[in-house]
Amino acid sequence: MPEEAHHPELAATEAALASLAPLPGQLDRDQLMFRAGQASATRRHWLWPAATSAIALLSTGLGLALVLQPAPQQITHVVYVPVEAPSSPTLPLAYSESPSTDATGSQSAERPLPLSSYQLEQLALRFGVEALPETQSGEAREPLTPVPILDRRDSNKLLQMDNP
């Protein structure tokens, strides 16, 4: 389309009209630029509000699920565990034997057999020093008596007295 091929008699009217400058009316340029800045900023920062809303929604859903879930059923399992009989008869025998009591409740005069040093060592190694029996302490031990020192003549006299 030849756009400039206008009729010559219309060119004057065209030029006269073109000399008129249209008024912008009440269009406020500053307000337009301000609102344009607002619009561009709003469009750019939609991500964080959306993420915040999504997280808030997820948290609310999880909280509701936690509150509204049914109470868990209490299940009792009975487990039978086989207990083995004590394998070493020497230590429990010596250690676990308590003083026998008669019908009146009085403790009998019979004392347990003293443990050998090997048994004491095994007992201490296996169960610790605290497991050593109380009877080995000093209160049940008989007091020591001093033995007189004999010379040769006294010892010969004693030997003669034993062999009349």
């Binding site: 389309m1 756009e3 206008h6 009729h7 010559p8 008699e9 219309l10 060119a11 004057a12 009217t13 065209e14 030029a15 006269a16 009209l17 073109a18 000399s19 008129l20 400058a21 249209p22 008024l23 912008p24 009316g25 009440q26 269009l27 340029r29 307000q31 337009l32 630029m33 609102r35 344009a36 800045g37 619009a39 561009s40 469009r43």
Partner: protein, 166 residues
């Protein structure tokens, strides 16, 4: 994303013509033009041809605004009561702005649209045809008919070609 410098230049160069273009349909053309510029700013990618895009958005919004105004009779009467000036005062005195506006108002909308878009908006007749869904020949025909009608109404004298005396 359009920068503020480009937007400011567009507003300075084309806002007034866009307001005049929107005024052909609605009584509040400033709002329509402002919304068009805001819509341009919020576009993810700027249109290839910004000016025809702006005229298209302004045209659609102005027609929608005119339809809304028709529904509200009260608003329509208020808008009709005030007749703001379309053109600025010129010192050339070739043509009076108010007379030109009055003559333009008397034209059919197709001729007014073609004259405003081509004469003050700078759009080609192809672009004007794309705006109103017509061919470029039809847009050109509207334009010529409108100019001829304005010439009769305004009585602008024809430019005489200089004669060469032998």
């Amino acid at each position: 994303m359009m920068g503020p410098e480009v937007l400011g230049r567009l507003v300075d160069q084309h806002a007034a013509a866009l307001v005049l273009y929107a005024r052909q349909w609605c009584a509040a053309p400033e709002d329509v033009v402002q919304e068009a510029f805001l819509k341009l700013v919020t576009q993810k990618t700027a249109p290839d041809r910004v000016l025809p895009w702006l005229y298209r958005v302004v045209r659609n919004a102005a027609i929608d605004a005119a339809r809304s105004a028709q529904r509200r009779k009260r608003h329509e009467t208020q808008a009709a009561a005030r007749t703001p000036a379309w053109f600025a005062e010129t010192e050339s005195g070739v043509i009076d702005g108010d007379s030109a506006a009055e003559a333009l108002r008397s034209l059919p909308i197709e001729q007014r649209e073609a004259i405003v878009a081509h004469l003050w908006g700078g759009l080609t007749f192809v672009q004007i045809g794309e705006l109103n869904g017509a061919s470029s020949s039809t847009a050109h025909r509207y334009y010529l008919a409108g100019i001829a009608a304005l010439r009769e109404r305004l009585g602008v004298a024809c430019r005489k070609k200089p004669t060469i005396l032998n």
